[in-house]
Symmetry: C2
Subunit: 263 residues, 2 copies
């Protein structure tokens, strides 16, 4: 079994990934984003995306009810079903599910994000949270029956309400539940870069110490991503490949260790 995280950027080659899934020798559970399509839909519906930066410096999207609807339409509607259709066209019998379906991913609603606006501290509540438990029984039922799973946001909170979450956290949770041999992350870059502006500066291999050092100096989304990688290593994950999702065969290239190998 492998777990594959597919970024939600506009240049991610879903068609190529679907083709690569058709040639996989083992079952795959895929978690995908759709942020570029969400942002585009927000703009077209004139529902502007709001981002918040917490006091501790972590940036996140503020999810009110309108934003949740837009997220659901982009992630669970447009992109998930396009991806399923691309898979079906390649002979991959894919099923697209959100964390809501069959209570696949249950989370804890955020108790509020502590922000400082114009010098004033306040607690902001939204429809977001952190994944806490996976319905491993449902995952295994479908994987054992030969289906390839394409998972996406939203997830369920404690009351059955849909909430947004970070896919990095969902992947880390899946890793602990399914214990795959390999986790692949397909992003809009050829791997983790030493210089974010220079795509030729790919770090080929990365150990725990270096990851920890980078995490302590990173900020925003990159910091959250590095935290999630550390969490997976701590949970016993032996190999994570971070590779380019934009090429003709993103998954095949990642399996050939093109990109950054974290171990």
């Amino acid at each position: 079994m492998i777990v594959v995280k597919v970024g939600g950027g506009a240049s991610i080659n879903l068609d190529g990934i679907a083709g690569d899934l058709a040639h996989l020798d083992e079952p795959a559970v895929v978690v995908h984003g759709a942020n570029a399509f969400r942002d585009d839909l927000s703009r077209r519906l004139a529902i502007p995306k709001r981002t918040l930066t917490s006091e501790s410096g972590v940036e996140s999207v503020f999810t009110d009810r309108d934003a949740l609807d837009v997220l659901t339409m982009a992630y669970a509607g447009l992109v998930n079903k396009r991806f399923v259709s691309l898979c079906q066209q390649k002979g991959v019998n894919a099923i697209g599910l959100t964390g809501l379906d069959g209570a696949l991913v249950r989370g804890r609603r955020n108790r509020g994000i502590r922000v400082r606006e114009n010098g004033v501290r306040r607690l902001v509540h939204d429809l977001s949270g952190k994944p806490a438990a996976v319905n491993g029984e449902l995952l295994r039922l479908l994987v054992d029956a030969g289906y390839t799973l394409l998972l996406t946001a939203p997830i369920l909170d404690e009351q059955g309400q849909a909430i947004s979450t970070e896919n990095d956290d969902v992947v880390a949770l899946l890793q602990r539940t399914l214990e795959p041999e390999l986790v692949v992350e397909l992003i809009e870059a050829p791997g983790l870069l030493d210089d974010p502006k220079d795509e030729s500066s790919v770090r080929k291999a990365l150990g725990r110490d270096e990851l920890e050092r980078r995490e302590s100096t990173a900020s925003g989304r990159m910091r959250r991503k590095l935290k999630a990688l550390l969490k997976m290593l701590d949970a016993g994950c032996r190999r994570i490949v971070i590779a380019d999702g934009r090429g003709p065969h993103p998954l095949r290239a990642a399996l050939a260790s093109e990109g950054t190998v974290v171990s």
Copy 2:
């Protein structure tokens, strides 16, 4: 097992239906629409809905790529996931799926709709079709595991492309595959009306002969609906209840035979 068709009108009480599903003694497979939400989204995205009337008088929505995207966002995204969330809030472990997922509903792409525009006959091609086969194995796998299925458009064509279809036809196909004891259809009226403008003119019971007579004089969507009902009776369905989807307990009322009983 019962099969429930839920109309896609804005006044359908999904919350009430979710609550009724929680008190059902037998498994349910639900097929729902979302046309009111689709039309609203079309308007907000300034992608006007195009309808065509075939030479034989059947009206249908013309589905180009933009219309398919809007349909997918409204049906598979917004409404399906809201409905799943409402079910989860009532303790119903629902899974929302389209016909694409696990090739649940495969169809045949329409070869073109013959229309007459400004006196000229032409063949119009779009992304629509008729359902032809259901993945009964996947349905049973999930139903046997205790999940309540909420199905919606789109479905798959022969090449794995997403296409739109009529839910009436999907329900008729499910009826033949699953052979439920009962089919319930929840609509925005108290049943089939003798006078479409008078909600008190509900026809309490309807036999095959009367259904056939009505079908021969109906037009547009009503004709399509009556055709689908006839098809179900021909396939051995013994009882169909057409009931009000707007009340506090739409499914409970339908099970008490409030509405039109077709047998």
